[in-house]
Symmetry: D2
Subunit: 402 residues, 4 copies
């Protein structure tokens, strides 16, 4: 697979793509069938594994037939029933509805993507902790509204990046953990499972069994309560924001006139070999500019949901989740690479600071007011803030629970 | 104040409007000044109260002069300094930057709005718990993709509404609690406060004192880490989604041909007196269609943040937060009224169900598979799900911590 | 009126605010009543002017009662009927529906806002034509992906600004001209007007008469075809984009390290008097970050329209149009001020260019390929492009039809 | 290629996908090289055709290397230079910049997609003209705010659909025609082409020659003036809105309780064979809910553009354009199928109308006022409006210029 329209796409290979979704759908059907057999609802002869019965070579057919029913599940079920043995066939998908399978499959794929996002972001935080520590005393100009303001350190700037990333990562982890199994049946009452299993308790056991098999939390049906998805999507956008903030700072400080930072592997130009473009920063900014729109689509879907399963909003979710999830994986990896190879030009920072006009104006004003002589530097709590952020970054990098 | 462009606006009277923001800015300046004096950083003669020195009659002037500096804080500070006594004047706003004051003032206003949102949503959940209980056995048709599917109860439909609202309310409360005091000084290093107070510890004490005065959590400066705001905004949109879901269901089930629900106080028409429009549902749907765009603006601002304070993104936040906050208050009140007076036409539900073609098709298929006779109803775990949701609604209505 | 949340708001005073909308609604009712009387549909005694019968002092009442019916028209009509004479009263609003009145009133207000936007943007284009002419030969560094690339002129940079603004202005004018009268009656069939007037032809004459009175094009009813509004809104966002582009360039080139441009009236800082913030550029960037979301709300409303008049989408349009319209007026004025007082530091441009590393790399590569000696400068068609853009700017400033 | 996340994706096979983009990039390079040779700028031995030198088998490599330079052009150029003969190789891409090639390639792909969209929408309009004609007299209930209001005809409802689609199609055609060749060189001054060709006039000739070869209008460089793209994208969203309106009406009127319309090929359900879901309407609603967000990303890119080529906004455009373009093709085809096979249940319409309570209330009110007896029907100008819309639909279906 390639995506010329989204450079960096190879970083999400195998995650949240068609093959992964198809495999996840089969996994859901298999887990449910296993629960039916295990509980004795289906006979023990219906115990054939569905794994591998439908796969990548079916993608074109499943995709083409998805339009006729509005979603790809029906074609997958038909193929599974067709290819498994006669004893198993009638029990495939029994009690489920298409949305159960597709929602759960998406959740499985989103969780895999999250694993990659979390791992990379933890690595990033480790690098940033190193960077902040190394540059705890690297003074530079602070800029507000594009203008030189007062001195800061590069360490405390990195501390700000850390804060944004740590908070965003915490939210991603929290909200990914809340992504749950979907089993509701045709109208979210579990009527099919109850009818098959003979009692509410037995039906709930089927759900719990399936959840355990898939490693997902059980939940009341959430066919029409889409908050789990919107919260998770919002968290991914929050991470995109934090990455976009880092990238925008780096792109800005890489400007030829500023030159306080540069990307280790800046991208070249065919006819301008002197250029070293901040390519990863640019690609991360692209993601930050694009991600909010995807989450807004999910919110609109959630807020216009109707009936027991809605007429369009649900269908709008899939591609938005796919794009947001894959791009989050890509961006997390790009952020790791960006900060791992970031070149800090401390001498340039020092020179800019030394020649910045008016940079001590505020300090003189404060000192005049306090009646004390001006302190040697004017870095305030920069060290204190840096150290605290480094501590948070180290903890997050280790995976400590917030 | 009026807003012909957003019917229902009167419900947010006094919340997040210009007067409230102005008062909150003064409150922040007053709290900070109090901290300076209390810590002995400012002399005890600088203890004049700033409260009331600037007020509603200043709005036009402050607003007009806000353009010249890009934000309204400078004009407020100038007026405070001009109007307080000579001993106090030099100490007003010392150590702060405009963003400290405006961010914290917005947070104070957002928290007031949240109080109203939470109270109304708890009341709503109480009503919904009653409604679900009353209609625990009211059978009706379940609809998927606009078509009759299988039976459900009105109770379990309300359970779905409850789930969405409870989850969304939990998130609003959690994220509002995270809205913090902003004190960072010119470039987020607390340089001014440290210079005034003589040490990092003393500066941090000033921050803590101010936080305590205002009833807000302290925090490292978040000038460029806007996750607190985006998470809170996302939560409000999540609540809008849950309300939009309820409203869309009600508008749909109020259709003349369905007529299973109607608003207690449906809006009339000047020349069609027979009509009873689902007006509150319509206005809630308006909010659900509009809210995601506001949160996306906040995310874009967060993701394009640059430097120690950015050149535009911050300024884009204020109106988006104001609109989202006020509309959330309005919508929460409208939702309460909507569900409090909702008329449920159980006889119509029964009649539709009785005549729904094919409504027992799935049950017959399940029964054929299980080999057991079909159960009397086909309501699955509807009662079980309803009872559990009612329990969650009662707990949320009481304000139990999730 | 003030708006602390949107500095610059005073620039849109009297445009698209509550009082203007109310006045426009009365104007629509008055024009329709005039048409009824003029055509002999209503008796000549029903000819009382409605002008001024409802006004600013009614805003609070009308606004509060708007929630009950879902829109403000019913309360306005009730007040008009109550306050006019007995002969006129029964004929007020006859044949119209609320949406006819509100849509047309919005159109009237949007046209007034457009007049201001167009006038200011034409003035801006005149200034830019002067600027491009003055700096036709002012060489500077061209930057791509934040890095020095090849030389350009400031004139050709301004030419790029001109192109964006001219195209955007053309679209605004074109799409504003398409904003039409709305008269459709209860369900868009003109049934009421036909019944009153006795024939389709007579009803169409009423519509045409009203259109002529209000200076609007007539149109088939567009209750559910909202393309006129979305196209107009898109054009305003297009203008915001063009302004945002100019503003982002100016904010960037105003950076302390670049200092090639500065705002004539840069905003100050309370404790950092050396700073000259690019305030207008910052406020324009705010608008460019916020405007796309408003247009997306209008599109969502258009795309979820249903029935003869929909249950929420229409209601979501009003505030989005108001905000987009007012902010467009504000931004147009800010852009005029920004470019009128822009300070161009040509000596700094020259110095940066003279010291830019590798800035002649591409030229050397081209020259090696062509076998000709390198030309004196490497400005390509900069003059040609500048002159052409200046011509377009002058034509647009004069109001020539594209 | 498949897309399980967007059922119907096969309808856009070969349009705006990776292979098409790659082919278009080669086509642009080939046309430019042809212009260089034809003008004698490059020697006649440099006339090798580039066509086919890079193709589908290169996609994985090109895509993977796109991240290093931030876009796929550099890898394509490298492969072309590597694979063509020695005389041609040095002249490949000379004078162009990556953005020239990618922008123009996207434009070529967008135009191909537009051709499909226009053809299908014209077919749709032909079907709708037939439908409106057939049902010119089919009376039905008009509904406003979900409630029965006054009578309409199905013909006049279709007329409303036509109006929306015709206007939207006109805008798509107009804005696609404005998509132009991009040739600006490194910083948009045509410096490279001028240096190579020896004069501005000769360079402009190269541009014109290339435009003619590719069948595109020439234009001043638009590297930073992105209005062409945003206007085109807005028009596609406008079409999505018009389709979403049709689809929402059809989904609503297909509800089991209303049953006035049904899709000819309604989608089934695995366990509920009685169901006939309005699948195409559902998938079109998905598109209408998703499209506005994509256009908003393009606007944000346009409004944050900076320098001679920007650091992220440009990169955010590609996938948004791709998705919007492909989905527009899919939706146009789905709309054609939807209306071609739409089943109209006129007898159900008649029955609903006959039993609609209060449906004549407005008419009685009007009649009382006019003093004339009520007319037989109360359909107003429905026929007049229908006939006019049918005329517009026929003209648009024929491809008459608006």
């Amino acid at each position: 697979m390639s995506d010329l329209f989204w450079p960096g796409d190879h970083r999400a290979a195998g995650l949240l793509d068609d093959a992964a979704l198809l495999a996840a759908m089969v996994r859901v059907e298999d887990a449910w069938l296993g629960a039916l057999v295990s509980a004795g609802v289906a006979p023990s002869e219906a115990a054939a594994s569905l794994s591998g019965l439908v796969g990548p070579s079916d993608l074109a057919d499943v995709s083409a037939s998805a339009e006729a029913s509005g979603n790809p599940v029906i074609a997958v079920v038909a193929a599974l029933r067709d290819r498994t043995d006669d004893a198993t066939s009638p029990w495939v998908h029994r009690g489920l509805t298409s949305q159960d399978v597709l929602d759960t499959a998406l959740v499985l794929c989103l969780r895999d993507a999250t694993t990659a996002v979390v791992a990379d972001t933890r690595t990033t935080l480790g690098h940033l902790a190193d960077l902040a520590t190394e540059h705890r005393d690297t003074a530079m100009v602070g800029r507000t509204l594009t203008q030189h303001a007062v001195p800061i350190t590069f360490g405390v700037k990195v501390a700000g990046w850390i804060d944004g990333l740590v908070e965003a990562l915490d939210a991603v982890i929290r909200d990914a953990d809340d992504l749950a199994l979907q089993v509701g049946g045709a109208a979210g009452t579990l009527a099919g499972p109850v009818e098959l299993a003979g009692s509410v308790e037995a039906a709930v056991s089927l759900v719990d069994h399936t959840a355990a098999t898939l490693g997902l939390p059980a939940s009341p049906p959430w066919h029409t309560s889409r908050g789990r998805l919107t919260r998770f999507a919002d968290s991914l956008v929050g991470l995109a924001d934090a990455e976009g903030h880092v990238a925008t700072d780096i792109a800005t400080l890489s400007r030829s006139e500023i030159a306080e930072l540069s990307e280790g592997h800046g991208g070249g130009s065919s006819t301008m070999p002197h250029k070293s473009n901040p390519v990863l920063a640019v690609l991360l900014r692209r993601h930050a500019l694009s991600a909010p729109a995807l989450a807004s689509t999910l919110h609109l879907a959630a807020g216009t949901t109707v009936d027991e399963r809605p007429d369009g909003p649900w269908h709008a979710e899939w591609a938005a989740l796919r794009d947001l999830g894959r791009r989050s994986v890509i961006a997390a990896g790009q952020t790791t690479d960006l900060v791992a190879h970031l070149q800090v030009h401390a001498e340039q920072m020092a020179q800019t600071l030394a020649t910045a006009e008016g940079i001590d104006a505020e300090q003189r004003s404060m000192s005049g007011l306090s009646g004390r002589p001006a302190s040697e530097s004017y870095l305030g709590a920069a060290h204190h803030l840096t150290d605290a952020a480094v501590g948070r970054a180290r903890a997050a990098a280790r995976g400590d629970v917030p």
